[in-house]
Amino acid sequence: MSAQMVREEVVFKRPAPLGQTVTHYCPGCTHGIIHRLVAEVIDELDVAGKTIGVAPVGCAVFAYNYFELDFVESPHGRATAVATGIKRVQPDKVVFTYQGDGDLAAIGTGETVHVAARGENITVVFVNNAVYGMTGGQMAPTTLPGMVTTSSPKGRDVELAGYPLRMSEMLATTSGAAYIVRRSVHDVANIRKTKKALMTAFKVQMQCMGFSMVEILSTCPTNWGIPAGDALKFIEEKMVPYYPLGDYKVHEAVKPLVAH
């Protein structure tokens, strides 16, 4: 029997910007999915060699261990200011931040608003899971009314703690924002849409069109205290009604770039 040459074709593999490491994220956490989507987009745009990431304080504090990209660790909430400093002196590089709800919508709200107001050509990946993951499950500015957390043990009382912030809606009102969308990763169809949104967002930056942000509804089964599968349902049934998925700002000039 003669040996035959069989041509192999790789049809699916780990994108190069995603490192060959095991992450520390919890089972059922969607950081893993989002990391992968970001890496795929950077890979497909072929910009890994000129991308600089800004890591938050939060569960993704060690994001720089999971990407094969230049990265800096930012103080809590300041990622967009740090990204601004990087981008202004190196406008030809692709600069993105990866932030959770505490980082972006609590301690960092000032920096978040102003990076959008300035129309800074950076991309923000906003991972919204309605709770503070890294520090053990405290209430976040995006925690839903009635949601039990370690610092709202009787459930978020809007009389005392106010209502959650809808960051995509807010930032969409700034003239500097070019592309602000909210997506989710709770099922395959939405994961695909999230990837397209990330692709558009990075293209917006590369075309110097202004500030881009993709808010991504995500799970935290550990701190929600529910199994992973239920966590995905929680996004669909509880989070999406409060944080509707959709496009909140798509500047005219961005429309031709939107990935379909």
Partner: protein
């Protein structure tokens, strides 16, 4: 280059520009706002980066970001703004990226007022950010010195990958004096190997200050301490006047350095042998020289626009060799030579001569 009349704050701004400062991020706060405004005109003129940030908090973090790319970058503020920056300064220190900050000190605590003060000595010299660190603190006392030390600040920041503060005050920031600016350095094109420029055909660079493993974190801290030891060895700077035969030593910096210089001359005219040691680096402090002079003189008078912050360092390094006294004013009051002269006279009476000398300036 000829001398021109410069306002302190603007001279510092132009000096930074001449030193090749690539980016400036700041926020308005009296008495240093002229520095920001000057930069808002000058930096765009040269195609360099200027942002008036939304707060000092944002400004120092923009500095951090730009510093990570290996660019020469600075910010400036005044006391309350510097308090806001402490978190960012600690991150810059721990991440070992170079940066320059100018503090044009005003009165505290709290909102205080906009008059000159030296009340930030502790915040700057003892490192107001959390953790074990010291920034190089350069203290000018004239507009010319402000220029020279601002240029030096960038060089030292790059040399050691560290933080350098230019310690000014409201008087120095606002006054106008002749000064000569150095020639213009262009913005550097090359970036250091550690900088974040995109991992293009090289392993990724990570700039961080967190190491969960205690042994790794101790290693970082030991490395920082070794760096500080190197700086202590190489970068101490001070000026001394009439110390060779001095019986009494004045120790003062910045604006108080100038006032004490005059008081020293006046005292000398009265026959009191006063000398002056004016630290230029508040950190690293000229501790060895102070100790030497403490052996020689009958007493040391430290004069500050505060309740006495540098005097604690003086006492520390004098280690009881001679009496150390303090004179200071707060609230924005700038002691004039006459006041200091009076105190010198009292010290002289107490420590040196039995016969009081009439301490009225001629």
């Amino acid at each position: 280059m000829a001398k021109e009349l410069w306002k302190g704050n603007e001279a510092v701004a132009e000096a930074a520009v001449r030193a090749g400062c690539e980016a400036y991020f700041g926020y308005p706060i009296t008495p240093q706002t002229e520095l920001l405004e000057y930069m808002s005109r000058r930096m765009p003129e040269l195609g360099r980066v200027f942002i008036q940030a939304e707060s000092e908090l944002a400004a120092i973090n923009m500095v951090y970001g730009a510093a990570c790319t290996g660019a020469r970058v600075m910010t400036s503020s005044s006391s309350p703004g510097v308090s806001l920056m402490q978190e960012g300064l600690s991150y810059i220190a721990g991440s070992e990226v170079p940066a320059v900050m100018v503090d044009v000190m005003r009165v505290g605590p709290g909102l205080g007022n906009i008059q000159p003060s030296q009340g930030d000595y502790n915040q700057l010299v003892k490192f107001g950010g959390h953790g074990d660190f010291k920034a190089i603190c350069l203290a000018p006392s004239t507009v010319q010195e402000s220029v020279d030390l601002t240029v030096l600040a960038f060089d030292l920041a790059d040399k050691y990958r560290t933080l350098v503060y230019v310690v000014s005050d409201g008087a120095l920031g606002q006054m106008m004096e002749p000064a000569e600016l150095p020639p213009l350095q262009l913005v550097r094109k090359e970036r250091p190997g550690w900088a974040l420029t995109g991992a293009d055909h090289r392993p990724k660079n990570i700039i961080t200050s967190i190491y969960l493993d205690p042994e790794q974190m101790e290693k970082l801290n030991l490395r920082l301490q070794a760096k500080l030891a190197e700086i202590r060895k190489n970068e101490v700077r001070w000026k001394e006047y009439l110390t060779e035969d001095a019986d009494l030593l004045l120790v003062a910096y910045g604006t108080m350095g100038r006032v004490c210089y005059t008081a020293m001359k006046q005292a000398r005219a009265k026959g009191i042998k006063v000398g002056l040691l004016r630290p230029i680096t508040l950190w690293p402090f000229p501790s060895e020289r102070i100790a030497e002079l403490a052996d020689q003189v009958h007493g040391i008078l430290t004069v500050e626009m505060s309740a006495g912050q540098m005097v604690e360092d003086v006492r520390l390094y004098v280690e009881g060799r001679c009496p150390v006294q303090f004179y200071g004013r707060m609230g924005g009051i700038v002691p004039l030579p006459d006041e200091v002269l009076k105190v010198i006279g009292e010290m002289n009476d107490e420590l040196i001569t039995a016969e009081p000398v009439e301490m009225v300036a001629a």
